[in-house]
Structure formats: structure tokens, C-alpha cells
């Protein structure tokens, strides 16, 4: 005991005398250092500060770049998917067209062919009974009255003995008229039909109805012929030209300009079939259509379709962590001992963490997933000796180094320790908790209720809690309290890969089980004797709810 006291006195004497002392080196030393540094380098570009505490690590940059690439791929896929949705919508419109076009005869339905997939269409008018006397006439027009321009070809048949009616509208004229008479969406179409192209000659409802139905009786035909602006062209077949070259539907842009070539044969009265611009009609005339081509009562069909591609998944995840520990050479003189000791004394517990993921289906097979989850690590450290050292504030405290950071512990009893004093910890429980924001890309295969998927991505983890609860090994096993870790990075980035299985239990519900493996792309420790890279194997189970 006496010997110990003397030892402490010797140590204390030299600590007091030399710790913090100052002595000036030779004046010429700075010159030697300058020589050793070489010529003054050009000003180096300043590294980008990371949260005011250090510089952005290249691995963090790589992680962010990866996330940016994933986001770019997701966005591109989203827009590509939206285009395909539009194409489907157009096809739906075309099919609706057939039910809404005007017909003036009981002849077989128009023969329609689609060219170039979508936009260019040809339509052959219904054949008349005097088919043998007709010739085909194709007029290419371009409708620009609606929000979307559309090339349309109207193929009409006229009696061969009739002079070709002057092209009612050249493409340019039609375009001009269409532009001048752009639709007013707020006005219902039946109101629009009440006014002729001149705008001052109302068309009787009986004619409107027959125009809409495609059947025109003789009295009505006569009435139409007598309308202001109408004219009756005599020939072998009677030809009645409508009050205007453009019908009200045409005026409003609902119908592509058409060649009106009514031909009577006996008691039949045939109009060249006009073609509806259903995209315009879809916006404004859905109330009078038998079935809306697109949209629902609220007109938010597209939004609904978009919403149906989202899903939410509350989940629970069971995590088992192990760590790759390396010595940090920059911390000070290292001897390879710390990491071995940590590997021997630290044991990791299994934790359960909640999370909430939101997924968006870019395509039926490809999804992007993000959200929030908790990532916890629990480490139990077996009994070990720790020594008193000076902390950053120059206070002497006991230091506990572990893979989850450095802890400075104040003894609750006794005097302030001297540098080099040691105590034995009976137990130490270290907990770290991160808020994790993932970005996953998922690819699904399988049909029916059962789906398999693979996933890969990155997670940004934000440190929210880091504590150690220690117990001093003495007669009473006195607790030393809970202290916060130092030297941990505030954010880390993980790479994640996983595979999962999903089973549908309803129209909107499915159960998912997802084994995952995540590994840290950068060390969790910023300053300390070791660098630790947590690696976590987890199994997540969740209930996916589709909108």
C-alpha cells in the first residue's frame, strides 16, 4: 500500500510538473519545417463541409450518387409508364369512337383501319346502295381545335357521276376554322348544336336529333334543305348541303371536319360518316355519351389510376447485427489490440424494429420503395478494465471504447481519478438507434396470388440515440449510470439487398416476408480507436395495402 502511494506520488509529481508545460524550441526550427514542407502549394479547393463537422466522405458521395441514379431511373420509368397509360387511353377512345360516330344509313359499320399505331386513321364511309356508282375520295385533314392535334383521314364515297365537290376545306382552312372556333368546354354540346356556324341561325331540335341519330326522314330532310344557308343540289341524286360547311360539332372541335356529301338514293339519305375527336369530347361531352371513354364522375380517373400504383406496408423487422472492426490508424499509436478485444468481449443482441414503407409501381414488375424504419443495435460487453484518461475537455474520466463509440464515464463515488487509474466494469449495455430512410428498387416475378421479388438499394441512417449503461464491479455492483457515446458519425449509409415473397389475401391486401442483408458503406465511427462496419441480417414481415 505504501509502495502504491509512493508510485502515485512519483507519477503525480511528474504529471503536475510536465503536463501542460511549455518550452520554446530553437528559433530556427520553423525554417527547417518550412524546408521540409517544400514550396508553397497552390491553394487547394476547399472540401465541402459536411454539417459543419468534417468533410464529406467519398463513400457518402457514392451513396448519394447511387440514390440519385435510382431516383432518376424511377422518374424515367414513371414517365415511360405514364406514356403507355396514355396509349391505352387512346385505344380506349378509339373503341368508344365507333359507338358515337354519326351514321346515316343502316349499312354495315364503318371499316376502320389504324395506321402507325395511334394517330393516323382512315375511315371508309358506309357504302350506299348505289355503291357501284361511287368513287372513293380521301381527304387528309388535321384537327387542331382540340388540345391535342390529330391527323385524320376521312375517306368518303360519292357518286362517280357527280362532280367532285370542291374540297370543302383544305387542311389549312380547317385548321384556321378550327382554331377560330375553339371549344368552350363549359357549354354542353346540345346547346352548341342549337347554333349554326353562322351563329345566328338556330337549327331546330328535330334536325339536331336526326343529325345525332344519323337517320333523317324526308320531312326533316326537306326542313334541313330549307334552312337558311342550305342549298339543294340537283342531279341524279339529290344533295343537301348543311347550313354550314362545318357542323356544330365540327365548329366546336368535337368532330373532325368532314366532307359532307349527302346522297339520296330512293328514300335513303346518307351522310358521310364524320369522325369524332373523342379526346376533346371526353373532356366536354361525357354527359351525353353512352359511356364515358375515360374519367369517372369526378373526372379524376387518371389520378385514380396513378393512385392505384401506390401501396403502403407497415412492417416489423427482426435484426441480427455483427460488425467488421478495424483499427483506426489515424487515432493514435495502435497495436492491433483494440479490435481483437472488442470482438472477444462484445456480443450483439437481436432487435425488433418497426417501419413503414411506401411503394410505387413503375411498371407491373418494377417498383420503387421508400419510407422510414428504425434500426437498433444492442451490444453487451463482458466485464473489462477501463482506465482514466483526459477527455476532450481535459477532464480526467474513465474511458470505455467499444465498436459503438467511445464513452467517458464519471465515477459516482470516491475522488476524481488520476490519469492511468483503472476500474473494472461488471457489465455494459450499449444501445444505438438510427432512423433509416431507404430507397429500394424491387423487381417482381410470378402471377396470381404469389409473387416473388428481389430488391436492392441504399439506406441513409440518421443517428438518434447512442447510450451505454454501465455497472461498476464492486461489492454492491454499483450502477455508474447512462452515458452518451462520442465519436460516432451522425449519418451512415448502408447498401441493402434482399429477396421476398408476397401472398395476396385480398384485392388490396398482401402479406410480405422479406429477408434482407445490409452492410455499412462507411464506418459508424468517426473518431475512435476502431472503425466498425455494421452488417445486419434481418427478416421483415409486413402487410401491403394497395390503394
Amino acid at each position: 500500500m505504501t509502495e502504491d502511494l509512493h508510485e502515485n506520488e512519483i507519477d503525480g509529481l511528474f504529471r503536475r510538473g510536465l503536463e501542460g508545460a511549455e518550452d520554446s524550441p530553437s528559433p530556427g526550427l520553423w525554417s527547417a519545417i518550412e524546408k521540409g514542407l517544400g514550396p508553397t502549394p497552390p491553394p487547394a479547393p476547399q472540401p465541402i463541409p459536411s454539417g459543419g463537422s468534417g468533410w464529406m466522405h467519398p463513400l457518402l458521395l457514392k451513396g448519394l450518387a447511387g440514390i440519385a441514379i435510382l431516383a432518376a431511373v424511377g422518374t424515367a420509368s414513371y414517365f415511360l409508364g405514364r406514356d403507355s397509360q396514355r396509349r391505352e387511353q387512346r385505344q380506349q377512345e378509339k373503341s368508344t369512337e365507333a359507338t358515337t360516330q354519326f351514321r346515316t344509313s343502316s349499312e354495315p359499320a364503318s371499316q376502320k383501319e389504324t395506321r402507325d399505331g395511334n394517330d393516323r386513321q382512315s375511315m371508309v364511309t358506309p357504302a350506299t346502295e348505289a355503291d357501284e356508282n361511287t368513287t372513293e375520295e380521301r381527304v387528309d385533314t388535321k384537327t387542331t381545335a382540340g388540345p391535342d392535334a390529330m391527323d385524320t383521314r376521312v375517306l368518303t364515297r360519292r357518286p362517280s357521276n357527280l362532280p367532285a365537290r370542291e374540297a370543302p376545306k383544305s387542311a389549312g382552312e380547317v385548321r384556321n376554322q378550327g382554331a377560330a372556333l375553339s371549344p368552350k368546354p363549359e357549354t354542353p354540346v346540345h346547346k352548341k348544336l342549337e347554333t349554326s356556324s353562322a351563329g345566328n341561325a338556330p337549327i331546330p331540335r328535330s334536325i339536331q336529333r336526326q343529325l345525332m341519330s344519323g337517320r333523317m326522314t324526308d320531312p326533316v330532310r326537306e326542313e334541313a334543305a330549307n334552312l337558311p344557308g342550305s342549298r339543294r343540289e340537283k342531279g341524279r341524286d339529290e344533295r343537301i348541303v348543311a347550313p354550314s360547311e362545318l357542323t356544330p360539332l365540327e365548329q366546336r372541335g368535337y368532330v373532325s371536319p368532314m366532307v359532307v356529301t349527302p346522297v339520296t338514293t330512293g328514300r335513303r339519305f346518307t351522310l358521310a360518316a364524320p369522325m369524332l375527336d373523342t379526346r376533346v369530347m371526353a373532356k366536354h361531352v361525357s354527359p351525353i355519351m353512352t359511356k364515358p371513354a375515360v374519367g369517372n364522375k369526378t373526372g379524376s380517373g387518371i389520378n385514380r389510376q396513378l393512385l392505384s400504383r401506390f401501396s403502403l406496408m407497415p412492417m416489423l423487422s427482426s435484426n441480427t447485427t455483427h460488425k467488421k472492426i478495424e483499427e483506426d490508424e489515424t487515432f493514435g499509436p495502435r497495436n492491433g489490440r483494440e479490435h481483437r478485444e472488442m470482438e472477444e468481449t462484445e456480443s450483439y443482441g437481436t432487435t425488433v424494429s418497426p417501419g413503414l414503407y411506401a411503394a410505387f409501381d413503375i411498371t407491373p414488375r418494377l417498383s420503387v420503395q421508400s419510407g422510414f424504419s428504425e434500426l437498433k443495435n444492442e451490444i453487451s460487453i463482458s466485464p473489462k478494465d477501463i482506465r482514466a484518461v483526459r477527455d476532450r475537455d481535459n477532464n480526467v474520466r474513465y474511458r470505455l471504447d467499444c465498436s459503438a463509440g467511445t464513452f467517458y464515464i464519471d465515477p459516482k463515488t470516491g475522488t476524481t481519478p488520476s490519469v492511468g487509474d483503472s476500474i473494472r466494469l461488471k457489465s455494459s449495455d450499449v444501445r444505438t438507434r438510427y432512423a433509416s430512410i431507404p430507397l429500394h428498387l424491387m423487381y417482381r416475378v410470378g402471377t396470381g396470388r404469389l409473387t416473388f421479388f428481389g430488391m436492392a438499394g441504399a439506406e441513409m441512417n440518421i443517428l438518434v440515440n447512442r447510450t451505454a449503461t454501465t455497472t461498476f464491479q464492486n461489492a454492491s455492483s454499483q450502477p455508474l449510470g447512462t452515458v452518451r457515446a462520442e465519436g460516432l458519425r451522425p449519418t451512415t449509409v448502408n447498401a441493402v439487398v434482399g429477396a421476398g415473397i408476397e401472398y395476396g389475401i385480398g384485392k388490396r391486401l398482401s402479406i410480405s416476408v422479406i429477408p434482407q442483408y445490409r452492410t455499412a458503406l462507411r464506418s459508424a465511427n468517426e473518431e475512435g480507436p476502431v472503425k466498425s462496419y455494421p452488417k445486419t441480417v434481418s427478416v421483415a414481415a409486413g402487410l401491403r395495402v394497395r390503394f
Binding site: R15, G17, L18, A44, P333, R390, E527
Partner: protein
């Protein structure tokens, strides 16, 4: 602290004026650290010079967490240890059979010993003793750590520390006695 941050940024950018100011601010304290590990003042200056070159070369690696002075001090200790390792042919350690129970019973006596005398006593220790004494007393390392760092056994580390203490104790007592004699003659 802001001034220090400004200096560090200047050093990262290679500003010679900032380096000079940093040197002027910290060299006196770090020189004492170097002297403790060195056997002479000139050797300590060599360590200090090498240490500062290393500091300025690697200052961009400082993570702005914790004490900047502590970071520089660790670099100086590393330099001193590397120099020690390079001089692997150590001076033979004289066997110490002196009485280890002399004790320091009069605190008043040795309180008058100054920094220079204490430094001279440490520097006169055999190199291994000096390293073990410094690492244990000033850096707070355990014998196992010291043993692995210096390439000796744990028992040797303990023995060297004990011997270093006994040498220092004896020298301090001698110094006290000579000082008392001088005072008496006056």
C-alpha cells in the same frame, strides 16, 4: 475556437502564414511532449520538426471532432515512438538493485523541483524506461497496450515502469538533498 478553425482551414489550403501561426501557437506545449520522449533537447526538436511536417501534410484528415491539440499531440507521440523503434539497438538497461522503499514522504521538499529538473530526470532515463513511463503516466495506456506497442512482454513493461519510478524517486531525493544543502550553505 473560430480563430483556430480559420487557422486550420488556412493550413488545409496550404497557407504558409496560417501554418506559421499554428506552429507559434502550439509548438511550446508540443515541444515539452517531444522532450519527454527524447533523450535531449536537440532530439526533441527533431521529433517536433518531423511531427509538424506530418501535421501540415495530413491536416485535411483532421475530422473536426474533439481536440485539435490532442490530435497533434498523438502525432507527436507517434513520431517519437517511430524514432524509438528505428533505434532498435537500445542502450543496455542497467540492473536496478537500489532500495525501492525510500519513499517520498516530504511533499514540501520535492515541490520546489522545477520543470527543467523534472524534464532532465525523465530524459536521463534509459529509452525503454522512458517510453514505458511516458506511455503509462502521461498517455494512460495499460501494460498490455504498452507491451504490444513497444514489442516487449507485459511483465517487462511492468518491471520497466517500476524501475523507472525507482530511478526517478532516487534522483528526486538526491536533487532535494542537494537543494537543501545549497539553501543551508546560504
Amino acid at each position: 475556437m473560430d480563430d483556430l478553425g480559420y487557422l486550420i482551414r488556412g493550413c488545409v489550403a496550404g497557407d504558409r502564414q496560417a501554418q506559421n501561426r499554428l506552429y507559434a501557437q502550439f509548438a511550446p506545449r508540443l515541444f515539452v511532449v517531444c522532450q519527454r520522449y527524447a533523450s535531449s533537447r536537440s532530439e526533441a526538436e527533431d521529433v517536433l520538426q518531423e511531427g509538424f511536417i506530418r501535421i501540415f501534410t495530413h491536416i485535411a484528415q483532421f475530422k473536426h471532432q474533439g481536440s485539435f491539440e490532442g490530435w497533434m499531440r498523438r502525432i507527436m507521440v507517434n513520431c517519437a515512438l517511430q524514432r524509438y523503434a528505428a533505434k532498435s539497438r537500445m542502450a543496455p538497461v542497467v540492473s536496478m538493485q537500489e532500495d525501492m522503499h525510500g519513499g517520498l514522504e516530504d511533499n514540501q521538499a520535492h515541490s520546489s523541483i522545477g520543470q527543467k529538473e523534472l524534464m532532465a530526470l525523465v530524459q536521463r532515463l534509459p529509452p525503454t524506461y522512458r517510453m514505458v513511463f511516458n506511455l503509462y503516466v502521461f498517455e494512460g495506456m495499460k501494460h498490455r497496450e504498452i507491451a504490444e506497442l513497444l514489442g516487449i512482454s507485459e511483465g517487462t513493461s511492468k518491471s520497466n515502469l517500476s524501475d523507472a519510478r525507482s530511478i526517478l524517486q532516487r534522483e528526486v531525493l538526491k536533487l532535494d538533498a542537494s537543494m537543501a544543502q545549497k539553501l543551508g550553505s546560504l
